[in-house]
């Protein structure tokens, strides 16, 4: 449904995104994950025909965003980072205007209005001025604007920004319910959001795509080593070195304030048994021993702190990991 091929966007000398390539199938929900300034918004603006790409091609529903923008625009609903609201209009007036510029007929517009008012619970505020609505309501009006003409493709730039936790859950449920019938791209820097609603995640950093996969597979793929956290009651001074000497242990991170050593072990074999025996056998007193699985958050940090994260996941990102641990 959406194809992005080698899209590059330059502003003068500054390259906002470079050779970004990905596809989204019909009915899929894809999350665009990346730190601020990574190029998420730029990619979305190219897909919505707001700006043209410097190089490469983007297609929505088979139509090129540059050659046939009208066809593309008819098929998308776009929620920019700042909801595009006319403060001086009431909710109904605003949505009516949007429906008209989207080319809706009067009959469709009426039913569409009822549908989105119902779906986004805007019934109570429909005759109030947008300027007087809370941030959460304004965001919902923005979403209503996207869904009004029922486009097959939805492009949402940080759709849950500014909402309270309850509203966030509601919006996520809404997006989940759209999966299957609609193709959705949403950008976020909130990781649980990506895990919660998306089938696939594109991680982007400094304008380049660093990974594309399902949230589960992504964390599995990056878990090239198993991590074991060990807390010892009376550790000898050189415990870290002695851990390091154990077979199968790749690296050891010194204890943080919780007093836990973090051991990075080779993947595939469970070393917990050996380590337990080693600690107990020496009489140091084993307090806690557990495997630490990588969350999407770790994956994200690993990938975005080191651009070659995919290539040399074994070494360099370990440093990133350590950095995070000392911070924690």
């Amino acid at each position: 449904m959406i194809e992005v091929q080698n899209v590059t966007k330059r502003y003068g000398d500054f390259t906002a995104i470079e050779r970004v390539t990905f596809t989204v199938d019909k009915g899929e929900v894809l999350a665009f994950l990346g730190p601020n300034g990574a190029g998420k918004t730029t990619t979305m603006r190219i897909l919505t025909c707001f700006i043209p790409a410097t190089e490469g091609a983007a297609r929505v529903g088979g139509f090129d965003c540059f050659e046939q923008p009208m066809e593309v625009k008819r098929r998308i609903g776009y929620l920019p980072e700042t909801p595009p609201l006319y403060q001086e209009l009431t909710v109904t007036e605003y949505l009516t205007f949007v429906g008209r510029i989207k080319g809706m007929r009067a009959k469709d517009l009426r039913s569409g209005l009822d549908r989105v008012t119902e779906r986004l619970a805007l019934g109570d505020v429909r005759d109030r001025l947008i300027a007087n609505l809370s941030r959460g309501y304004q965001q919902r009006v923005g979403l209503a604007q996207v869904l009004l003409h029922d486009p097959p493709v939805l492009i949402l730039d940080e759709p849950t920004m500014g909402l309270d936790p309850k509203q966030i859950i509601e919006i996520r449920e809404l997006i989940k319910s759209l999966a299957g019938s609609h193709t959705v791209i949403l950008s976020t820097h909130i990781l649980p959001e990506a895990t919660a609603v998306c089938q696939r995640v594109v991680i982007i950093n400094n304008g380049r795509i660093v990974a594309v996969d399902s949230p589960q597979r992504l964390s599995a793929r990056l878990r090239q080593s198993e991590k074991i956290s060990v807390t010892v009651k009376a550790p000898p001074a050189n415990l870290a070195d002695r851990f390091r000497a154990l077979p199968g242990v790749l690296s050891v991170f010194e204890p943080t304030e919780t007093g836990a050593f973090l051991l990075e072990c080779e993947l595939g074999e469970d070393r917990r048994d050996d380590i337990a025996r080693f600690v107990v056998g020496n009489g140091w007193g084993l307090l806690e021993l557990k495997t630490v699985s990588m969350t999407l958050e770790d994956v994200f940090l690993r990938l975005t702190q080191n651009e070659e994260g995919m290539v040399s996941a074994g070494e360099a990102p370990g440093e990133a990991q350590m950095e995070k641990h000392t911070q924690a």
Binding site: F50, K73, Y86, E88, V98
Partner: protein
């Protein structure tokens, strides 16, 4: 409902919920009222003087003594007032990011530019219609030829529309409303001054061309009651040029 209608309707709605249009109308109508009052008083004084000289009731020409000076001064007033109406058109959309909504909707830039222009034109024509109360009251107390008054109004409407088109262009150039207002104000004055520049250069091709480019001689003919196709063509072409440039500016912003 076509997209242009939708934009026009939205613009009108936005104008009427903001205080701008009320303040602008009030000030404009007040100034117009004072200007025509002064013209009437002036005409009265002249009548008295003529009576003293000729010793009999003079035949007063209200068209010459009242309407013509009023139309000339009103030209300056609308030059100052109209940029206030047009400054928000594009600048505000960009500032509030609603521009993205317009540009990602299946409507052409033509429709947006035209819709905004027509919206503000309707406001302006409404204002002009309200000033019609002055000739209506005068027609109760005296008699004058309505036709030059109507061509004068036609001139005002066309010249105002040209200012508005320049204002649309200025607003498309920036996202700062003050800058937009000032730009359209400057642009209109510059076009005006071309006439003076042409007069300085005298009766040669360059001078004539410059004079032609200024709206002042075209407006002048309409105010004097002369409807010439070439003047109408001038105003229509001027508007089209301004709106075309505005279209190009909006279009070019996609590339930045």
């Amino acid at each position: 409902m076509t997209p242009v209608n939708a934009i026009v309707a939205k613009e009108l709605r936005s104008y009427f919920v903001s205080p701008v249009v009320y303040v602008v109308s009030a000030v404009f109508l007040l100034i117009f009222g004072v200007l025509s009052y002064l013209a009437v008083v002036n005409a009265g004084n002249q009548a008295v003087r003529m009576m003293q000289i000729q010793g009999a009731a003079a035949q007063l020409n209200l068209n010459d003594l009242v309407f013509r000076p009023t139309f000339y001064s009103t030209a300056i007033v609308i030059l100052l007032v109209l940029p206030i109406l047009t400054m928000r058109l594009f600048a505000e959309e960009r500032k509030l990011r609603t521009f993205e909504l317009l540009m990602t909707s299946p409507i052409g830039i033509n429709a947006v530019v035209l819709g905004k222009f027509l919206g503000v034109c309707l406001i302006f024509l409404g204002l002009l219609a309200l000033t019609g109360i002055v000739p209506l009251i005068l027609s109760v107390y005296s008699s004058f030829d309505w036709r030059p008054v109507l061509t004068g109004y036609l001139g005002l409407a066309l010249m105002g529309a040209l200012f508005l088109a320049a204002g649309v262009l200025a607003s498309a150039l920036t996202e700062n409303q003050i800058v937009a207002a000032f730009l359209s104000f400057g642009l209109s004055i510059l076009i005006w001054l071309l006439g003076a520049l042409g007069a300085v250069l005298g009766d040669n091709p360059v001078g004539n061309a410059l004079s032609y480019l200024s709206f002042i001689e075209h407006y002048d003919r309409l105010v004097r009651g002369l409807v010439d196709t070439k003047d109408l063509v001038y105003f229509v072409c001027g508007m089209i040029l301004m709106l075309f440039l505005a279209h190009r500016v909006v279009e070019s912003q996609r590339w930045k």
